[in-house]
């Protein structure tokens, strides 16, 4: 196996809100190897985006506070870096693409200006050379007529093209790690297929690692090597992708997979997970999933004691009193 690029150890992040302190990320640990794709899955509010923004150190503090843990990139703790040193890491070593390609591009600059900004900042290219690089990047991500498009503004492009521009910008400095936060959620399936194929291509070419944050289990199955499942600020299960889909261990993961409608199946009714995601200001006691769990809602232990995340030595881990690996 290749070396570890990014290692998150026991990360805890909290937010101060008017109604109290919210623990958005609570003891999250996972690692990402070179050239590997790791997917973080979970429902809205489970802490998956906060984890990725913490890696980039992009969450404003206050209101947020990193209470503990380490984020190691090639063995160096990003949380201890000065803001100036972080500037050189962002874009250069770690790049990010966001869900909303319209709001994450600046509407008053042309696409070219925005790519050139990143290129000039991180690579020693200036003027025409930087501009040529921008055109090259647009070509790489499959935009037709890149030398015309480079002078256009974001509103002149379609959603799929904007996402390609975001990718071009993120890849312009050859990052080692790409964090893709719901990169295709706002796109149609046919465009989603194009974008995901593009990412896989570039990953192979550059031996880049991808941290894919998504709620779409189909996207996970086809694009990740390793999956981290989060629920209510914690990791509840971690596993290689084949193992997870073949034999999910945690009742929440099982429920999620069973509740998906699958093309060509004859299921009359979909399985459901009762109830809804708990309020982070008011998490249930014990295992946070117990009120929605068919075993946990009856078990005293689940109601009072929180299960630890236990590893089995085959890169699998699960946090449930009743799961066996």
């Amino acid at each position: 196996m290749s070396e570890v690029l990014l290692k998150i150890k026991d990360l805890c992040v909290s937010f101060d809100t008017d109604d109290g302190v919210v623990n958005a990320v609570d003891g999250v640990s996972y690692e990402l190897r070179k050239g590997q794709s790791v997917a973080v899955v979970g429902e809205s509010g489970c802490g998956k985006s906060v984890t990725s923004l913490s890696i980039m150190r992009l969450i404003p503090s206050p209101p947020s506070k990193v209470l503990g843990g380490e984020i190691l990139l090639n063995g160096e703790n990003l949380l201890e870096f000065s803001e100036k040193k972080m500037h050189s890491i962002r874009g250069n070593d770690i790049a990010m693409i966001f869900q909303e390609p319209m709001t994450s591009l600046n509407p008053v600059y042309t696409v070219g200006d925005q790519i050139v900004e990143a290129v000039e900042r991180h690579q020693l290219l200036k003027g025409e050379a930087a501009w040529a690089k921008a055109v090259d990047m647009l070509k790489l991500v499959g935009i037709a007529d890149p030398d015309i498009r480079v002078n256009e503004y974001p509103h002149q492009l379609s959603g799929g093209m904007r996402q390609r521009v975001m990718i071009a910008m993120a890849l312009s400095c050859d990052p080692k790690l790409l964090i893709a936060d719901e990169p295709t959620t706002a796109l149609d399936v046919t465009i989603q297929a194009q974008i995901l194929e593009l990412l896989r291509d570039i990953q192979k070419r550059n031996n880049m690692s991808i941290l894919l944050i998504t709620h779409d289990l189909g996207v996970v199955a086809e694009n990740a090597d390793y999956v981290v499942v989060m629920y209510a600020s914690k990791i509840i299960e971690r596993a290689p992708v084949e193992a997870l889909f073949a034999a999910p261990a945690h009742p929440y993961t099982k429920g999620l997979l069973a509740s998906l409608p699958v093309l060509g199946s004859d299921k009359e009714r979909l399985e459901t997970i009762e109830g809804s995601v708990p309020d982070p200001l008011n998490f249930p006691s014990g295992c946070k999933f117990h009120p929605r769990c068919s075993i946990g809602c009856k078990d005293k232990k689940c109601q009072t004691q929180e299960p630890p995340l236990i590893e089995n030595g085959y890169a699998r881990a699960v946090a449930c009193w009743h799961a066996r690996l």
Partner: protein, 327 residues
């Protein structure tokens, strides 16, 4: 489709909805966006027609034109043996009682200044269906049918999660005991574990109340699950329409095939053999000549560039209609 069936609740005949493109100070009309360009289908009572397609293909416009929420350009809609487009305002209001809509965005579609009781009960007053002193009981009954408790009555929309808000939207649509509901992407804004709850709820209600649905969505897996019939739209036209079972086992149109193969499946061991469509949906203000799909079609020929094939049956079954020369 299904013309033998007398039990048709809603029949749409070559519906067209164009939006004008205006220019200049006096809003001169310089062209039109053909959002819906000759769509026909019918839905038998108690059944569900799924309408799928990419963003901008006109599926939402179809739903809204049928309800007369936006003015149509030509065509007709026959609902319960009445020609909807020829009704005057007063007659239309009476028909509206039988046709309701559930919106995609559970955040934007509920008035933040109204309590749940007023949101759900408002239409009861408008149509004078329930005496004012019994309104509260009826609202509680509707909330319970939708899987919420009566204790929500005095709360506001912002106090609920996305799934619960969608349930409020459903309770509101059910208030008038409609026959027909347009479900406009009712689950696409929801989390996975909540989606299946709402889909099951919609199916249960359909069985209990004999509802007929037009289910608009871009997620083919959800559509296959809930629908009896499915119509696939591309650039304002239906390119294929048949029963859900037939469509997913035996799709004929290259666009339908590509759309189905683009869906990522939650099965990592599946061998991916995907036809990835090149390019993007063209602008409906300036659609390509001939078959609108030809610039992206993997099997297009010269004939496809000049002539648009009509939606017609490819074998003897009148259930499966395709608009493609080569299918």
């Amino acid at each position: 489709m299904n013309d033998k069936n007398d039990n048709i609740l809603i029949r749409v005949n070559s519906l067209k909805t164009y939006f004008p493109i205006t220019k200049g100070l006096f809003s001169r009309v310089v062209g039109s966006v053909k959002a819906v360009d000759g769509v026909s289908f019918s839905i038998p009572a108690g059944k569900t027609l799924g309408l799928v397609g990419e963003s901008g293909c006109g599926k939402t416009t179809v739903g809204r034109s049928i309800l007369r929420l936006i003015p149509h350009t030509s065509g007709s809609v026959e609902f319960d043996s009445k020609d909807i487009f020829s009704l005057n305002k007063k007659q239309m209001q009476r028909v509206r009682k039988d046709m309701q809509i559930i919106f995609q965005d559970p955040y934007g579609s509920l008035n933040p200044r109204m309590t749940v009781e007023n949101i759900v009960g408002e239409s009861l007053g408008v149509h004078g269906l329930v005496e004012p002193n019994k309104r509260r009981d009826r609202v509680v009954e509707l909330l319970e049918m939708s899987g919420l408790s009566g204790s929500c009555l005095n709360r506001y929309a912002h106090e609920f999660s996305g799934g619960q808000r969608q349930r409020i939207g459903i309770a509101r649509a059910l208030a008038l005991e409609p026959k027909f509901i347009v479900c406009d992407e009712p689950v696409s804004a929801l989390d996975v574990s909540i989606q299946s709850q709402i889909v099951n709820l919609l199916q249960d209600l359909q069985q209990q109340m004999g509802l007929t649905y037009l289910f608009i969505a871009h997620d083919l897996a959800v559509v296959e699950h809930i629908s009896d019939f499915v119509a696939v739209m591309y650039l304002g036209k239906i390119v294929e329409i048949t029963t859900a079972r037939e469509l997913f086992s035996n799709a004929k149109h290259p666009y339908t095939k590509a759309l189905m193969s683009a869906i990522p499946q939650p099965n990592p061991s599946r061998v991916i053999n995907r036809t990835i469509l090149k390019g993007e949906v063209p602008s409906p203000s300036n659609p390509p000549s001939g078959c609108a799909f030809h610039p992206r079609c993997p099997i297009a020929e010269d004939a496809c560039k000049c002539n648009q094939q009509k939606l017609e049956s490819k074998n003897d079954s009148s259930e499966h209609l395709v608009a493609c020369w080569k299918a």
